[in-house]
Symmetry: C2
Subunit: 405 residues, 2 copies
């Protein structure tokens, strides 16, 4: 059985994701599609609109065979760390290929970029460091650094969000010499950041915007998603009373910052260079997350970076807890969030060659990474009424979702 890996967030699962699965299946000729998905919080430092189990279920109903959880320590990080956790996990579970969507759509450009990078790695790194020292954000600095080694946007634009992520996947595969084929599919014309829904394949950003502006799943939004997602959004909202967005966390995050010392704040993952003073000072004035970020952000501390930092404050994730875990190889475990019959067959056939523990139930003892996972879920569900929170948290401790095909 051949397996193809996908690296996803499904926030929420929509028609574009289904299109990607179909194309990836064709390109990889795989029998089993394995998606590794962020859990409660996402790469850009945002809470997921509905919890991981409801997102996983929608994905399983739409063509994915196994949904793995990308551990929290990798999920809310820059593209290199994110890619590192995701690609290593997929490699461990034995995928033959990884297929990602990109603005470029041509894998040879990614491979060529990697070649150039390897040739001139020291020079690239020196330029990158210089640009960062000048106060540029990481994406900007790395764009300059790529240009400095002769990689221009004509061939591949490494400032486009999905190209950045894709390049990180390719780099992780090649750096580690994994026997995994990288594949890419050109994204349809809706850009990642598009804010308006214009056709049945819309960006997740525009879908969330439509939902939160109207405070409900409008007809316009429901045609952009498979029926399964519509159902899961509805079910989750009934159980939880809410869909998750940053502003819902403002009272908790604000309370937390207002009762932390500067020293404690400086101990949180991602807070450096005196940022703790800026965060505390602006907290006094802020009346919303958005206003607060506007007050703090600089060229260097972009909105995305600050949102990730806010996630780490909210979840009380300390440098000490996370930094020793990030670069461990191999990943310490693989957690299964949901699975189909095909997925079960795949695991049965391959379990002997999978070297890391497969977790089917949440187990608090085996690894400090699981404690951070639990913390993240605790923070994620904290905005819900007590009874909804208790009910939903039970799933965190239970068995994976099983979907019959």
């Amino acid at each position: 059985m051949k397996a193809c890996g996908l690296i996803v967030e499904y926030n929420p699962f929509h028609n574009g994701h289904r299109y990607h699965i179909e194309k990836a299946k064709e390109a990889s000729k795989a029998d089993c599609m394995i998606a590794i998905m962020s859990g409660s919080f996402l790469q850009r430092g945002e809470p997921a609109i509905i919890d991981k189990f409801h997102r996983a279920k929608a994905a399983l109903e739409a063509g994915v065979d196994i949904v793995l959880e990308l551990p929290f320590v990798y999920a809310v990080q820059n593209s290199d760390i994110f890619a590192n956790g995701a690609v290593k996990s997929l490699h461990e579970i034995g995928v033959n290929s990884i297929c990602f969507g990109s603005e470029s759509g041509n894998i040879s450009f990614f491979l060529h970029a990697y070649e150039k990078y390897k040739e001139k790695e020291p020079f690239y790194k020196e330029t990158l460091r210089k640009m960062l020292d000048q106060g540029l954000s990481f994406p900007e600095a790395s764009r300059y650094a790529y240009e400095s080694i002769g990689l221009t946007a004509n061939e591949i634009d490494l400032s486009q969000p999905n190209n950045i992520l894709g390049y990180s996947y390719v780099k992780t595969i090649l750096d580690n010499q994994f026997q995994v084929e990288p594949l890419t599919i050109k994204r349809t014309k809706n850009n990642y950041h598009d804010e308006e829904i214009t056709n049945p394949i819309a960006s997740a950003t525009s879908i969330r915007k439509e939902i939160f502006t109207n405070r409900r799943i409008t007809e316009k939004v429901s045609i952009t998603m498979p029926e399964g997602t519509n159902q899961q959004l509805k079910t989750y909202k009934e159980k939880s009373t809410t869909l998750h967005e940053w502003e819902g966390y403002f009272p908790l995050l604000h309370y937390r910052v207002m009762t932390m010392s500067h020293e404690e704040l400086a101990g949180i993952h991602g807070i450096n260079e005196g940022l703790e003073y800026r965060i505390k000072k602006t907290a006094k004035q802020a009346t919303s997350i958005n206003e607060w970020i506007e007050m703090i952000k600089t060229k260097r501390y972009t909105r995305t970076r600050l949102q990730r930092i806010f996630v780490h404050i909210l979840t009380n994730t300390k440098k000490n807890d996370i930094e020793k875990l990030i670069n461990k190889t191999p990943v310490p475990y693989i957690r299964i969030l949901g699975i189909t019959k095909t997925g079960q067959n795949y695991l049965n056939m391959n379990k002997k060659t999978i070297d890391v523990p497969l977790l089917f139930r949440f187990n608090r003892n085996p690894h400090p990474m699981m404690e951070l996972e639990e913390n993240a879920s605790n923070a994620y569900y904290s905005i819900l009424p007590p009874h909804s929170r208790k009910m939903l948290f039970k799933q965190e401790l239970g068995s994976p979702i099983i979907v019959k095909e």
Copy 2:
């Protein structure tokens, strides 16, 4: 000018408090009444119903001349530490007497109790330790210990809440050989813990119960308080949108505990003997503060003790922060929350003999105790909508309330 000290919480200020001021004035023959009042959180581990400034204003309008803030490090503590902070502050500001309400009403009984205690101090302490080791709560253990040195309830019942506090005041005065005369007034028949309003002098407990049950200031409750208090409750509620009670803090406290490690929880002031495990474990099930306390409480960990611990978790008050400050003599500063013309005259005449700094404005630099005060206020106001919170917190940084007589 003679001054008399009062040790108060005014939660809220009611007719019984006004009666006490009148009687204390008669007994002490003082020209200036100085009250030292708990701030955001109270001795029994509860948030104050309205903030300290609105409570201070009601007191100034009803006969108090100066309202001092009892610092947070002393305020949410057992009676000995509470008394220590309050009596030392009043002594520093130069009061000639301290007048407290008690169930006993006879100061010679308190003085006699102290004499007996001094005679048999080692035996008392040994019995106390033994009883605590057997798992009794502090009030219970100390009752046994007093009985063991021949102090029975016939003379003075040292298990009654106001007798306990009063005895702690007397003990602090005599232990430190302060030139301050202790005076006591018998409390009128409404007991401290009475839950029902039966006449115009009602207990603060019954007043709060009536307010929170009806979600408003009923006629029944308004006759138990001077017009000034009615006005302050109304004004505060308009500004803040709410009156404060424990249940309003459940989402914040619960979120906080759910994202703390056992080690962090064990670092909070008051958490010992593995209580951190019990608090974390019960948090998973609890849907309200009341339910949570019911799950944790034991003979030894009484409701009051747990409420104090909850305040210290909510405010992020660590053992390291507080324990080195509690026993410092003299108190490092005296903060004025509000003052009348008489109070200003008193300070002008006596300022040369007051050895510790008088703070008229909140100043963040001078002392770590002020940082804890700010933290406590931050936590206290955290349940309010952002704009109310910002507006009310400004008062924390501003000048004292001035009331013209």
